[in-house]
């Protein structure tokens, strides 16, 4: 199995090299994307087999003849990495399918096509790695390949800034992960995961947790390390944005789970506290940021931050339960988190693909210039609507199931013996409920402004439906969202080997439940049947429509909009994205973003236009990043003087440094 997976990865790398030449012709890029789609499907199949097959006695890891002199390079799937590999490769395969059609629109394909297979290969390397060395190589490779894709449209200054911020954050994140693995391995330990697990270095757990939270968290987009994400994800071409937001963040979650649940040893109860606090803040802030955003792709990127918060809420709860020996509750919370990982990879990819289709059709990302696309892009609109319902955690789609499972886990937490989590968890529950409701508002805005109403620009009124490949990819993702929502039992059962591996316990198999319902703990406690709810809604709607058809008047007349008798022909009189968000901005934004509104009214009699200025401050950036940037600038300013010294002074400095270092080394021993 691992040989096959490693071979597929190798093929992806070959494709990356071929991409350099193939990208010169449209057909070449299409072929590369098609090959990516096939290989990702194969990798997903391999991973699914590794996940579901009964654990074979000893399937030796594949050892590569490269690597550190001390360590070995091991590649293999275990249940944890296999589950994430399924999630990553299913989404990647569908996104590649979309790219067959969409990639043809790229302005400079040679800046995208070679890096695309490399990016997917790197993500698979992270998942396949069974030792710290190959994990980190894959991780860095993933960062660099995605960086190259972010900077592919390098003409725009925004994109260059995004790439710079991304590079700095990625470097910092990788550094902390390096430290975490170093601590885990100890002074003379091996770097293979197996050896780390066996050595079980005591006492480093808490530091590893913090380092993982910083390292993996910055990649995933935990507040306050999220700043690069809404800059970088939208800067890339849309199919790459889908991969970065929908898939790469999942690899980051995998990194966290691997370090904290697998390698760091048994947790103590307080580990859950920083995770839950950060996750709660991330969930709420992420969605508020998204609501304030009018750029469709940036809105989606900010919303990824919220979903990462939801995933980490589940992981934090799992830590708290596991530390207290509450196995069933821990399994439930963990299963909820992993389920949400899968869900988010599906609907976030779907939404980014939809935004790419809109961007191609109109050339616009700003929702203030869109509108009315439901008439001109019906398939995109329908699939995007499915994604919006799913991501807003509304039944019968899949987002609701993972949120429901998380709520069930929260309702089990009065069992926790410690006071701090018991006080914290209800607050986290309220935060989660709040962010779910705000997410619905956010996606009413996203869908309503983009697809409904009247076109706000000539580009929007002249839009055309996207190509067949893109449509099929989006339809497939929408279908998967629905299927995971109405048949959640199968998904939960398939993901159970992960829970088994990470926690040593698992939920009861759901396949045994009648009528495809899910029962996380006990049937008298709670149960959900997505299929039933979906069928009842459909029956109810169909029956009503039928009854109305039978007894009601069939007459229907098209006429001008009524609008209380004052319809205005200008599309500018519609509610805009800014005005839609205004109530929420006033309620939440005045605290979180220090939002200020200023109205400039001309004097009576003056015919100048009145203006409304809205000012939003990014509190996190102002409070945390601006001081650091200032400090770095101040220090470099000082150090700059050393560039113009004489050779004598340099020699003196070198000598002094040598002496100081020798003294330090001497006193150390």
């Amino acid at each position: 199995m691992s040989q096959l997976a490693a071979m597929s990865m190798g093929v992806l790398l070959v494709l990356a090299v071929l991409g350099i030449f193939a990208a010169r012709r449209p057909l070449g890029s299409r072929l590369i994307y098609a090959a990516c789609m096939l290989i990702c499907s194969a990798l997903a199949g391999i991973a699914l087999f590794a996940l579901l097959a009964p654990p074979s006695p000893v399937e030796a890891a594949l050892e590569l003849p490269v690597g550190l002199p001390l360590g070995r390079t091991l590649l293999a799937f275990d249940p944890l990495s296999a589950a994430f590999a399924v999630i990553v490769n299913v989404a990647s395969a569908i996104v590649s399918g979309y790219a067959i059609g969409h990639g043809a629109h790229a302005r400079e394909p040679q800046r995208v096509v070679p890096f695309y297979p490399a990016f997917i290969a790197a993500m698979n390397l992270v998942l396949l790695a069974q030792d710290a060395f190959s994990f980190l190589v894959g991780w860095e490779f993933m960062s660099l390949a995605s960086w190259a894709l972010v900077v592919s449209d390098h003409a725009s200054a925004d994109n260059r800034r995004a790439a710079l911020v991304y590079l700095i954050m990625a470097t910092g994140g990788a550094l902390t992960l390096l430290l975490a693995f170093g601590l885990l391995a100890g002074a003379d330990g091996g770097y293979a995961f197996e050896e780390i697990r066996r050595a079980a270095e005591s006492g480093v757990g808490p530091i590893v947790l913090i380092l993982a939270l910083v390292g993996a968290g910055s990649k995933a987009g935990l507040v306050p390390l999220h700043v690069w994400l809404p800059l970088a994800h939208p800067a890339a071409p849309s199919h790459v944005s889908a991969l970065m937001s929908g898939v790469m963040t999942k690899v980051a979650v995998y990194g966290f789970v691997r370090l904290v649940f697998d390698l760091a040893g048994p947790p103590s109860w307080w580990w859950s506290v920083p995770v839950l606090v950060v996750a709660g803040i991330t969930a709420l802030l992420g969605v508020l940021y998204a609501l304030m955003e009018h750029d469709l792709k940036r809105l989606l990127a900010y919303h990824t931050v919220e979903n990462i918060g939801i995933i980490f809420i589940g992981l934090g709860l799992a830590l708290a339960f596991e530390a207290n020996g509450l196995g069933a509750a821990a399994a439930l919370a963990f299963a909820a988190a992993i389920f949400h990982v899968l869900n988010h990879s599906l609907f976030k990819s779907l939404l980014f693909l939809g935004s790419g289709a809109v961007l191609n059709a109109t050339g616009e990302r700003d929702m203030e210039h869109l509108g009315g696309l439901i008439h001109r892009m019906p398939v995109t609109a329908l699939t995007f609507l499915a994604g919006c319902i799913a991501i807003s955690a509304l039944p019968p789609f899949n987002g609701f199931v993972s949120e429901w499972l998380t709520f069930q886990a929260i309702l089990l937490s009065p069992e926790l013996p410690q006071w701090i989590p018991r006080l914290l968890v209800p607050a986290i529950g309220a935060t989660l409920a709040c962010s779910a409701a705000l997410a619905a508002a956010c996606f009413v805005k996203a869908f309503g402004m983009t697809f409904l109403g009247r076109p706000r620009s000539p580009a929007a009124s002249g839009a055309r439906e996207t190509d067949g490949w893109s449509q099929s990819a989006m339809a497939l993702l929408a279908l998967l969202c629905l299927l995971a929502g109405i048949l959640p039992g199968f998904v939960m059962d398939s993901l159970q080997p992960v829970t088994q591996m990470a926690l040593g316990t698992r939920l009861a198999p759901q396949a045994a439940q009648p009528w495809f319902r899910i029962v996380p703990i006990d049937a008298s406690r709670s149960a959900y049947n997505g299929l039933f709810v979906c069928v009842m809604i459909l029956i109810g709607a169909a029956a009503t429509a039928l009854m109305v058809r039978q007894f009601a008047s069939h007459a229907l007349r098209r006429s001008a909009a009524w609008d209380c008798g004052f319809p205005d022909a200008s599309p500018a009189t519609q509610y805009s994205a800014g005005s839609f968000a205004q109530p929420i901005r006033r309620v939440f934004g005045s605290v979180v973003f220090r939002a200020r509104e200023r109205v400039v009214m001309p004097k009576p009699g003056d015919t100048a236009v009145a203006r409304l200025h809205v000012e939003l401050r990014d509190t996190v950036w102002d409070a945390l990043y601006v001081p650091v940037i200032r400090l770095v600038e101040a220090i470099t300013e000082r150090l700059n003087r050393m560039q113009f010294l004489t050779i004598r002074t340099y020699l003196t400095l070198v000598f002094a440094a040598l002496v100081v270092l020798l003294i330090i080394v001497g006193t150390w021993q």
Partner: protein
Amino acid sequence: MIREWLTQLAQAALVLGLAPLLSGATRTIRARLLRRRGPSVLQPYRDLLKLIRKEVVIAENASWLFRAAPYVIFATTWVAAAVVPTFATGLTWSAAADLIVIVALLGTARFLLALAGLDVGTSFGGIGSSREMMFASLAEPAMLMAVFTLSLFAGSTQLSSISAYMLGPQAGLSISLALALVALIIVSIGENARIPVDNPATHLELTMVHEAMILEYSGRHLAVIEAAAALKLVLYLSLIACVFAPWGTAVAGAGGVAYAIGLGAYAIKLTVLAFLLVLFETAIAKMRVFRVPEFLGVALMLGLLGTILLFVSRVPR
């Protein structure tokens, strides 16, 4: 098995048949309190019949979403209302949809209604959708917090079990329950577009929210949406009744007499609740829109407080 399903279907039909009557009753009580005679309590039925016989006029640029939304909104609300116990507990559908699902189903209906409000691209539709989603961003978590309190009490999120628990001997008075009740009442007022949050009788006012969203609807579409709104009121009142005033509700599998008593008790409870609701409405003035978040924020804080009290007061094993 068959009997249980029949009870379930009877309850689903009951809420549907009762919904316009309840709206009619609130209107009549309101008229009497204002010393008007008011229309008959059966007026909403006549309104619905009249509406479905009328021609539908829709805007030129209305999409398929605008035409499909009323039916889906109605169906989701109905499914949610059907799992709230009315005269008997032990609903079979409770095993498929618990209280969290009810909240979420109402969320789906609201999501689609807000989209329908944006579909034609008028300023009134936008104002309604935007404000509705702002209210919901506080009302929905407040409702969920009340749900948490109830679920922690009964050890189950299924409404049938919660109601049965409240009927049983273990249930007693508690501060958390009182807080949850207040939160739930505030949320019900907000979600059903009643005064002081919104005015169901308003038209052509800048303060309207729910009416603004459905302004472009007419004929049969409007009838279906009005029916869904009436169902939602029944849902909330039944919810409050079955949890906080469970007396008289028949337990699962009880005989016909118990069902008859349950039915009578349900009718009395609904009437009393409708009277209280209208009494509150006539005694208070409508709020400014930006006072509503404070009003709903109180519900959220009360719900959270109730949940935290339960978390703290529970002695770990």
